[in-house]
């Protein structure tokens, strides 16, 4: 009953998508392009599984920004899923640590083909400050094949979106 009372009192608080605010045009354009590419490629919206292979969580904050109120990528059909079984694309962050090597490989194997891998952040390519640590196996492409690297420490959400778009435009691996 409380719920219904609250629904009556508060009403509709979300606002419909209007024209993009100044400075937001690029992002909206980008997300729409990602959506269009995904529809062309998979026939539907894009499902992403995020794998933290040992990151400092800086990249995770930026990825979380993708789903936040500014970018809100869900409204364009880019959504994060809970299982690689449902995913088209893996978003891998961080240097690959020893503990995460097997899980990352298993995640890659569990993802149905056709699939894409986007490695996010400098660490994913070079291991960053963790380079040479006894706990680190190496860059992401030593463990699973990577389609696109997104540089930055951490990269902005818009850069991540551009990386995803680049990956979608690449010819698919068999």
């Amino acid at each position: 009953m409380l719920l219904f009372a609250k629904m009556l009192r508060v009403g509709l608080v979300s606002v419909p998508i209007g024209p993009p605010a100044p400075g937001e045009e690029d992002v909206v354009h980008l997300v729409r392009e990602v959506d269009a590419e995904s529809r062309r490629l998979f026939g539907r919206a894009l499902a992403i599984r995020e794998v933290d292979a040992g990151s400092c969580n800086g990249c995770e904050i930026e990825i979380a920004g993708l789903t936040g109120p500014v970018y809100d990528s869900e409204r364009f059909g880019i959504h994060f899923v809970a299982s690689p079984r449902h995913a088209d694309l893996l978003l891998v962050t961080g240097p690959v640590t020893r503990n995460m090597e097997v899980p990352l490989r298993k995640t890659y194997e569990a993802t149905p083909a056709p699939k894409l891998v986007v490695a996010v952040g400098d660490c994913a390519r070079t291991c960053g400050v963790f380079q040479g640590s006894y706990a680190v196996v190496g860059s992401v492409d030593r463990v699973v094949p990577v389609d696109v690297f997104v540089d930055g420490c951490p990269p902005e959400p818009a850069q991540i979106l551009r990386g995803i778009l680049t990956a979608l435009r690449r010819p698919l691996r068999a």
């Binding site: 299982s83 690689p84 079984r85 097997v102 899980p103 990352l104 298993k106 995640t107 194997e109 569990a110 083909a113």
Partner: protein, 679 residues
């Protein structure tokens, strides 16, 4: 011929009991005892089929046996014959199964008692539908109850079993008290207690008296059939009893509650006002939905099956109630159809519930536990039990192409004419009953997906399940026999329905027409009430499966096939602890129906003394509120116990007080005689 068959049946069961008593511990004695049970069941089956196939109604009288109460009187009409066939159909496979199953009791419990009680139970059960006067009926009925009570107590070293036996004995004796009252009320105006005289007397009695008799009989027979709220003994006694006995109790004995209701309500009383049917429909629909809801929450496989029996009896009583109601509303066509569907479902339930209890017993025999959370992966280790259980589960879930689908569908359709009647109360009731029936069927499918999947699929979750071995030959023969009965009842749906239709029409009176089920493998009644073509269903199903297979194959051939592990969150090494358990499977429904279940959960986490990050053990306990025990039986039992303690004051132990009681009673009696002026 019929007399010979009856003599063979009684003789075989008697000889079986005697053989068990004399040499029950010896293999030869046990073989003879089983042979007696199987021969008795076969003779009963033949006797029943002979009458069902159009043989004459057959009677037998031994007026001198218990002459004071009216003597033994037997009569086999179509209704009795139908239930006699039902007894024989389950009894023979269950008795065979018992050979292998009861070896586990050797040395611990008396095999003599078990074999003798089983034969006597079957004899009494077979005589119930034959009885034609009150004393014969009550003797057979009580024999059946007492013999089954001793069968339930087989494993009497378990305290749980003794408790279950007490519940069962209490419920069945309370039921008997109500039956006695019902028969006495019925016989008050009759010259004798023969059923023929009762029929005549009932036709002349007032509506209130008939209603009272019906209500008393409903409580008496309902407690045997397991109607909610009289169902409490089923989930206790069925798990405690040996599995072939559970199969007989659940498949056969509770059906005799339905028999009694039909015999008293329609045959002796000749039907009644609409409220009888409405009451039966309400009780039946309630039992069906609550039964399956409780079945879903069970982790114990035999308790799950017991609650599923409550559900199926509810569905049968729903159909019977529709028959009563349609008859009261002068709609003989739909009434016959509803009763025919209910009887067909009765027969089907006997077959598949018997099969499921036997298969569950085989699982228990192999793993040593009834807890499904400790099963798993049994289909590879039990290559006969697994498919048999699957077949029974598909049948009971009402999935085509097996028998449960046909009877549930027909039951569903037989309620449809009720929507069109002019009384708005009945029309609304029928719509609600249809909804309840549909909900029940859906939930039953879920419950049996759980029962089969959690028990037989994935990896074993205990050492017992990992080392399980298939049961001996006799147990496999019993299971395969009942599985064949399920398939046969599905393939022979038309002839079986013609038979149940004739039985139903016979119950409704001489003017009633049996519903016709047209040939050409379709159920079609003249009024267009029920329409279904089993052939089309089977062709559609097989075609659909074949088409899916072809499409998948065509798609797969274009893409390379890749094998990968089951996704286990990327963990290294997957263990059975990561599997779905019975509790986990039921969790979503526990939340959806939390208003009914009132679930309580209790999680206790035990941390390492030095760090909260290391968990040593987690204990999880979930329970649901047992409404009927908490709010009906506990207060009732407490009240009885309180009354008993008060009455104890009378028993002072003093001879003087007792003499005073006698004198007091005498004075009161003389006073009453003086006032009333009786001689």
């Amino acid at each position: 011929m019929a007399a010979t068959l009856l003599a063979v049946m009684v003789g075989a069961y008697g000889a079986g009991a005697a053989a068990a008593l004399l040499g029950g511990g010896h293999p030869a004695g046990r073989a003879l005892s089983t042979a007696g049970a199987v021969a008795g069941a076969g003779a009963g089956l033949l006797l029943g089929s002979q009458v069902l196939a159009g043989g004459p109604v057959w009677t037998f009288a031994a007026p001198d046996v218990v002459g004071l109460a009216g003597g033994i009187l037997l009569r086999l009409d179509a209704l009795g014959a139908f239930f006699l066939v039902l007894v024989g159909m389950v009894a023979a496979p269950a008795a065979l199964y018992g050979v292998g199953y009861s070896t586990q009791y050797a040395g611990r419990y008396s095999l003599r008692g078990l074999g003798a009680a089983l034969n006597l139970f079957l004899l009494a059960t077979s005589l119930v539908p034959l009885a034609d006067n009150v004393v014969t009926f009550l003797l057979a009925w009580e024999g059946m109850s007492l013999a089954s009570y001793f069968l339930v107590l087989t494993d009497h070293d378990e305290p749980e079993t003794v408790g279950a036996g007490n519940w069962y004995l209490g419920m069945t004796q309370v039921g008997l008290a109500f039956l006695l009252a019902a028969f006495l009320g019925l016989g008050a105006a009759a010259p004798s207690l023969d059923f023929a005289d009762l029929r005549v007397a009932a036709a002349g009695s007032t509506g209130a008296a008939r209603g009272a008799v019906f209500a008393l009989a409903l409580v008496g027979f309902g407690s045997k059939a397991g109607l909610i709220p009289l169902h409490v003994w089923l989930p206790r006694a069925h798990p405690a009893a040996p599995s072939h006995v559970s199969a007989l109790m659940s498949g056969v004995m509770i059906k005799l509650g339905v028999y009694g209701l039909l015999r008293v309500g329609l045959d002796l009383l000749g039907g009644g006002p609409p409220w009888w049917g409405v009451l039966l429909i309400v009780l039946g629909a309630g039992s069906a939905v609550l039964g399956v809801l409780y079945a879903l929450m069970e982790d114990d496989i035999k308790r799950l099956l017991a609650y599923s029996s409550v559900e199926n009896v509810g569905m049968i009583i729903l159909g019977v109630g529709a028959g009563f109601l349609f008859q009261a509303l002068a709609m003989p066509g739909p009434a016959a159809l509803a009763l025919a569907a209910a009887l067909y479902h009765t027969l089907n339930h006997a077959a598949f519930k018997g099969l499921l209890f036997l298969a569950a017993g085989s699982v228990l025999h192999a793993t040593g536990t009834r807890n499904m959370n400790r099963h798993g992966g049994l289909i590879r280790r039990l290559p006969w039990t697994g498919p048999c259980f699957l077949l029974g589960a598909v049948a009971i879930a009402g999935l085509p192409p097996l028998n449960g689908f046909f009877s549930e569908w027909l039951l569903f359709q037989s309620l449809l004419p009720g929507i069109g009647v002019s009384s708005p109360v009945v029309a609304v009731l029928m719509v609600l009953a249809l909804g309840m029936l549909a909900l029940t069927a859906g939930l039953a499918a879920s419950a049996f997906a759980k029962a089969f999947g959690i028990t037989f699929l994935a990896l074993p979750r205990s050492a017992g399940a990992a080392e399980a071995h298939e049961s001996p030959l006799s147990m496999r023969v019993g299971m395969v026999g009942l599985a064949a009965a399920c398939v046969g009842l599905a393939l022979g749906a038309l002839p079986v329905l013609a038979t149940t239709g004739a039985v139903a029409a016979g119950l409704l009176g001489p003017s009633a027409e049996p519903p016709t089920f047209a040939l050409g493998l379709s159920f079609r009644t003249p009024a267009g009430l029920a329409r279904m073509s089993p052939a089309a269903v089977i062709v559609g199903l097989v075609g659909g499966v074949a088409l899916t297979w072809l499409v998948v194959r065509a798609l797969a051939s274009r893409r390379p096939l890749r094998f990968a592990d089951t996704w286990g969150c990327g963990r290294v090494g997957q263990s059975p602890r990561m599997e779905y358990t019975a509790t986990a499977y039921a969790e979503p429904l526990r939340r959806v129906f939390s208003a009914v279940y009132r679930p309580t959960e209790d999680v206790t986490v035990d941390h390492h003394p030095e760090s909260r990050y290391f968990v040593q053990s987690i204990a999880y306990r979930a329970s649901i509120l047992p409404w009927f025990e908490r709010y009906l039986y506990e207060p009732l039992l407490a009240w009885v116990a309180r009354g008993g303690r008060r009455a104890l004051a009378l028993q002072s132990g003093s001879v003087h007080a007792y003499l005073a009681y006698v004198v007091g009673a005498l004075v009161i009696l003389l006073g009453v005689l003086m006032v009333t002026g009786a001689p």
